[in-house]
Symmetry: C2
């Protein structure tokens, strides 16, 4: 079942992100949605471009980190809507930034297949949401990750 | 004192990396060199482009992860040359991939200033090199990281 993407409901000011902003024409325009809302699992799909190479034939690790990062903050927004009992886009928006990111590269990720990033909401604690992630190519998990996402404070950047 | 960049000595097959490959025209073309070789500290500089936005005015976290990632693997190559008592480019090349990457985002990184990534070689243990990193903008540390870099095995990708 396909649900709406969380990023489609970011306000314009939060839709400039290189990873997942719908208004960033140069960016990756990632879309994250529930794969299994009851289980707190989301899915993000992305097919790397030819330039996203590490060594020939394999995906750049920085891109893998970026995919896990934006999947995590997007999933955190979804989790916040879920915790508030609202559908994405209903009422005031939620937007998260990354507090910390860990990626373990288990095996080289082949360049070519569409990548699937699954995020699981592990903990919602006030403004802090912890998520785990797997990144798979052709059904094989190539990397795992953990994202701590923090809801953007009112004084962000000041 | 400016020393040569480690990435300038990668063989062509390893110079395609999106982050630091001199042959990747679409990539970031990062250059990492010793800032203080005796102390095992390297420096990498990069000025983000306008599209490298997270929210307006601030740098995308996935780019920050990418900068720390490639600074780490580049610094690992430098550390391997140093451990072998060779100058970069003298003898068989060293090339590393990322085993794991951790990034802590301490504060929003302003989009505009040149970023400085300093990596310190923490441990060289066989084919595994552990490095710590700081990322600064205008003299202020905005993120820290840890990279475990693994020397590419002969059977990489098989």
């Amino acid at each position: 079942m396909t649900s709406e993407a969380f990023q489609d409901f970011y306000p314009d000011d939060f839709a400039q992100c290189y990873g997942c902003g719908r208004l960033n024409a140069q960016g990756l325009q990632l879309k994250t949605r529930w794969e299994d809302e009851a289980a707190g699992v989301t899915i993000t799909r992305f097919t790397p471009r030819a330039e996203h190479t590490a060594v020939p034939g394999f995906v750049y690790g920085g891109l893998i980190a970026s995919l896990i990062d934006c999947s995590g903050t997007g999933s955190a927004a979804g989790a916040a809507y879920r915790a508030a009992g609202r559908r994405p886009g209903a009422g005031a928006p939620f937007r998260f930034v990354t507090g910390s990111l860990k990626v373990s590269y288990l095996r080289p990720t082949p360049l070519g297949p569409e990548l699937e990033i699954r995020c699981r909401v592990e903990e919602v604690k006030g403004r802090k949401i912890t998520l785990s992630a797997t990144l798979s190519a052709a059904g094989e998990v190539c990397a795992t990750g953990e994202v701590v996402a923090l809801q953007i404070p009112e004084n962000f950047g000041s």
